[in-house]
């Protein structure tokens, strides 16, 4: 019995950091409507700076002072980030905000390694809380008890701050209606900045307080952010009480899950999250969001079938691509195959995003599942390559069917966070379930059969499949299903009103996109000859998003062009610098701020501008509009 009590208390102690970070995320989201992906990065910087300060200054004052100063310093960094980056993207679509802050995270990951080195840093114990308390023969670290007391105290302080101060009233008002707050004379800019500073302070404090418990390392940002996303999805984004309850719930599930499923404890958290989402899609303490009204004119270019000239051009491009083996060497062909595979991957996400309006942040899960599917079939069942290629993607299909069912219950940022959490769960399973997946060592020796083994043959195979997949998805866009899907994207309510089962349409699209990604993954497994957990990791998911954005979400050829440019650039970049994350992150931030319409979108805009220049005054503008208000 005592053991379970101690386990329970350990869970409560772990909840402290989780609660601090999650409440910060929630507060920021409430007012700015930005899901701050970089929140995990702020948590990590908080831990690193606190480590440095507590090592430098000794004694109790050095430790506690160091923790607080670290959190304040990071809050200051947060203010800079808000003023320089976020202010430019408050009015951008939420996808851009998530991506922009993710780019920041990437940069921070490289920066902390530059400053503090790649090794784990073990911080010192908290003065006054070094020992342990004996509880019926079980030891409880006294620092854990401190953390257990701390979270309700912080919750209380936050409550007072929001209920009893003018600042808190303004923040709560802005959470509901920012424009109205401005129309009452409140400077939104500073309100946003101060809210961001408070949120970042909480995250950094969570990181700083973690150093006596855990080593500081440069991957702690992603680990916490995924857990925090799970917490806010369960607790309800924007609710501090929800963050508290869900943080405790998730930590306890982790603490006891380890006893039940030692290898895959995350399953338990996933099951609870799924249950909550079915009953209350907006979280335990959240409020259902009013269906967002799309700004008219957001989709500048509706999808249209290619003209016969464009068809010829696409065909010509394909023929040119097919002649690559005639003059290129083996390395170029391997790169070519990889690019073709990533075209499949990007096109599948592009389909989901631009036609379905569903921005998945965990699309790599289905790519990786396809790869693992092939590896299982080839290595364990010993099936021939063709069969593996046909059946392997089914694993991606099944994963998309299960996760997609839950994901399409949500929309917008919730959808993005949930897909990310799912992908991370799949990654954890691949990483932890060593007996089946080989864990970190992956599954090796998945080589193509003789007919496809030579680089040129494999290249043709990949190119052919990529072309087929792209055509198939395009045909689907112009099928009745495609029309229905576009209708759900533009207005969910109206779609339901004309008798379409919108959720089912979206679910189908999710499964189609997942299966397609799985096809890419299946080919990828054969190209590399191996499968690793990274094949379904977050960074691959984000690669896909960047490809789509780089090409342009609203454009027809965005996925294809984006994949080619990005992959080529990426391969070149990795060969040039060790700081690829820093450069890539900076690049993402740049796209988000400067070229929100992507490459193809930019070209189209330039072309349009040139066309517009000749006949002045379009008839649209001269006509008075009835719906003036």
């Amino acid at each position: 019995m005592a053991f379970y009590v101690v386990q329970f208390l350990t869970g409560l102690a772990s909840a402290a950091s989780l609660f601090l970070v999650a409440s910060g995320l929630s507060i920021i989201f409430g007012v700015t409507r930005i899901v701050n992906f970089a929140h995990g990065a702020f948590y990590m910087i908080g831990a690193y700076i606190a480590f440095t300060l507590t090592e430098r200054f000794s004694g109790a004052f050095g430790f506690w002072g160091g923790v607080v100063v670290a959190a304040l310093a990071v809050a200051l960094i947060g203010v800079l980030v808000e003023m320089v980056l976020l202010r430019r993207i408050y009015h951008a679509p939420e996808l851009f905000q998530l991506l922009g802050t993710f780019g920041l995270t990437l940069m921070v990951e490289d920066l902390v390694v530059l400053i503090w080195g790649p090794d784990d840093l073990v911080g010192r114990r908290a003065p006054g809380f070094k020992g342990a308390v004996d509880f019926f023969g079980q030891n409880i670290p006294s620092y854990d008890l401190f953390l257990i007391v701390l979270s309700p105290v912080v919750l209380g302080i936050l409550w007072l701050l929001f209920q009893r101060t003018r600042w808190g009233v303004l923040v709560r008002a802005a959470t509901q209606d920012r424009d109205m707050v401005a129309a009452l004379g409140v400077n939104q800019k500073w309100l946003f900045t101060s809210v961001f500073a408070v949120g970042v302070f909480l995250a950094a404090l969570g990181g700083a307080l973690q150093i006596p418990r855990d080593a500081v390392h440069h991957a702690m940002d992603l680990r916490i952010i995924v857990e925090v996303f799970v917490v806010v999805v369960i607790g309800g984004l924007g609710s501090i009480v929800g963050a508290f309850v869900a943080a405790v719930l998730v930590s306890e599930l982790n603490a006891f899950g380890i006893l039940i499923f030692p290898k895959i404890s995350i399953i338990l958290v996933f099951l609870v999250m799924a249950a909550v989402l079915i009953v209350r899609p907006w979280g335990l303490f959240g409020k259902p969001e009013a269906a967002a009204r799309k700004t008219p004119g957001l989709t500048v270019n509706p999808w249209r079938p290619l003209t016969s000239n464009e068809r010829l051009a696409a065909l010509a491009a394909l023929v040119v691509a097919a002649t690559l083996p005639l003059f290129a060497g083996n390395y170029a062909l391997t790169v070519g195959s990889e690019i073709a595979i990533f075209v499949i991957f990007a096109v599948s996400l592009h389909f989901l995003m631009s036609v379905g309006g569903l921005a998945s942040f965990g699309h790599a899960a289905y790519f990786g599942l396809g790869a693992y599917g092939v590896a299982f079939l080839a290595k364990m069942a010993g099936l021939p390559m063709i069969v593996c290629l046909l059946l392997g993607p089914l694993l991606g299909c099944m994963g998309a069917a299960v996760f997609g069912f839950f994901a399409v219950q949500l929309s917008g940022v919730y959808f993005a966070m949930l897909t990310l959490a799912f992908a991370q769960i799949v990654w954890s399973i691949a990483f932890q379930w060593v007996s089946v997946t080989g864990g970190d060592n992956g599954i090796l020796g998945v080589w193509p059969e003789k007919w496809a083994a030579s680089p040129s043959h494999f290249y043709w195979l990949a190119l052919g499949v990529a072309a087929l997949v792209t055509i198939a998805l395009r045909v689907m866009v112009f099928s009745p299903f495609g029309y229905a899907l576009r209708a759900t994207r533009d207005s969910l309510l109206r779609t339901e009103a004309v008798g379409i089962n919108a959720k089912r349409i979206q679910w189908t699209a999710f499964v189609i996109a997942g299966t397609t990604a799985g096809i890419g993954g299946a080919l990828f497994a054969y190209l590399k000859g191996s499968v690793f957990p990274d094949n379904l990791g977050i960074s691959l998911s984000v690669d896909a998003l960047v490809m789509v954005l780089l090409g342009g979400v609203e454009t027809v050829s965005g996925g294809v062009i984006g994949a080619i440019v990005y992959k080529a650039l990426n391969i070149w970049l990795v060969s040039q610098t060790d700081l690829s994350k820093l450069v890539l992150g900076g690049f993402i931030v740049l796209i988000v701020v400067v070229f929100p319409k992507g490459i193809v979108g930019m070209l189209e805009m330039l072309a349009q501008r040139r066309r517009k220049a000749s006949p002045p005054g379009s008839p649209l503008i001269a006509k008075p509009i009835e719906s003036a208000e």
Binding site: R166, V169, R172, D177, A182, L184, G185, I621, I625, A628
Partner: protein, 234 residues
């Protein structure tokens, strides 16, 4: 002049909504902006306080050009705005709603306190701790006006204050507006209801399809039944 608007043009995306709008409000005056649904009344107000991003023209408030200022600065200069949709903070109590609107005292404008406002709108005083979401439409309308007055404005843009209210509440509203006027607040009130406008206004403008097509005193408007009938639905 308290407020002068010249050549105001506004767009929503590709749609041109307001065409060369111009009007004036004198010190302590109540001016009505009359027009049908969709004529551009709300857009005019939203443009004046800077809530419409695409606008051009000259907006002079107390001799200062505010046409490029952000919303919160315009409001802090003393130009209050009461939106048509009320936009009460439903999670906040009556007192907290008022707190959001609170701004420092202004030398050239009446100073409003909670007590003074509760005297002006007695209903609000009886429900200080009620969340805005659990109030009737009329009570919400009073709260929006009170909330804006907490900013001690010298001029208020009132967007359709009588809309959807029962006749009894409308009467209270007339009294409240006349009290505001007596205290020295200049008011621009947008209305579809000519009867209501007549009770409170000194002058009127008529807006139709985004253009001002009449401006004059209430007596001048009454002398032109043709204009009244063409542009206002009675």
């Amino acid at each position: 002049m308290k407020l002068t608007v010249q050549d105001l043009n506004s767009h929503y995306g590709p749609a041109h909504i307001l065409f060369d709008i111009g009007f004036e409000v004198g010190e302590g005056e109540v001016v009505a902006l009359l027009g049908r649904n969709g004529a551009g009344k709300s857009t005019t107000f939203r443009s004046v306080v800077g809530l419409v991003a695409q606008r051009s023209g000259r907006i002079m408030f107390e001799g200062k050009d505010v046409s490029a200022s952000p919303t919160h600065e315009i409001v802090r200069d003393g130009l209050g705005y009461v939106p048509e949709e009320r936009r009460i903070f439903t999670d906040l109590t009556v007192e907290e709603n008022l707190e959001v609107g609170r701004q420092p005292k202004r030398p050239n404008a009446p100073h409003w306190t909670r007590e003074k406002l509760f005297a002006l709108f007695p209903n609000l005083g009886e429900m200080k701790n009620r969340p805005g979401g659990r109030m009737s439409g009329g009570e919400q309308q009073m709260l929006t006006i009170a909330r804006t007055l907490m900013g001690n404005p010298s001029l208020v843009l009132l967007d359709e204050p009588s809309e959807g209210l029962s006749p009894k509440i409308v009467e209270q509203m007339v009294d409240a507006i006349l009290t505001m006027k007596k205290e020295g607040v200049s008011i621009v009130v947008s209305e579809q209801n000519l009867h209501f406008a007549r009770l409170i206004s000194d002058r009127a403008y008529i807006i139709e399809r985004g253009r001002i097509c009449f401006g004059g005193t209430m007596a001048e408007l009454d002398a032109r039944p043709d204009i009244r009938d063409a542009h206002l639905s009675l």
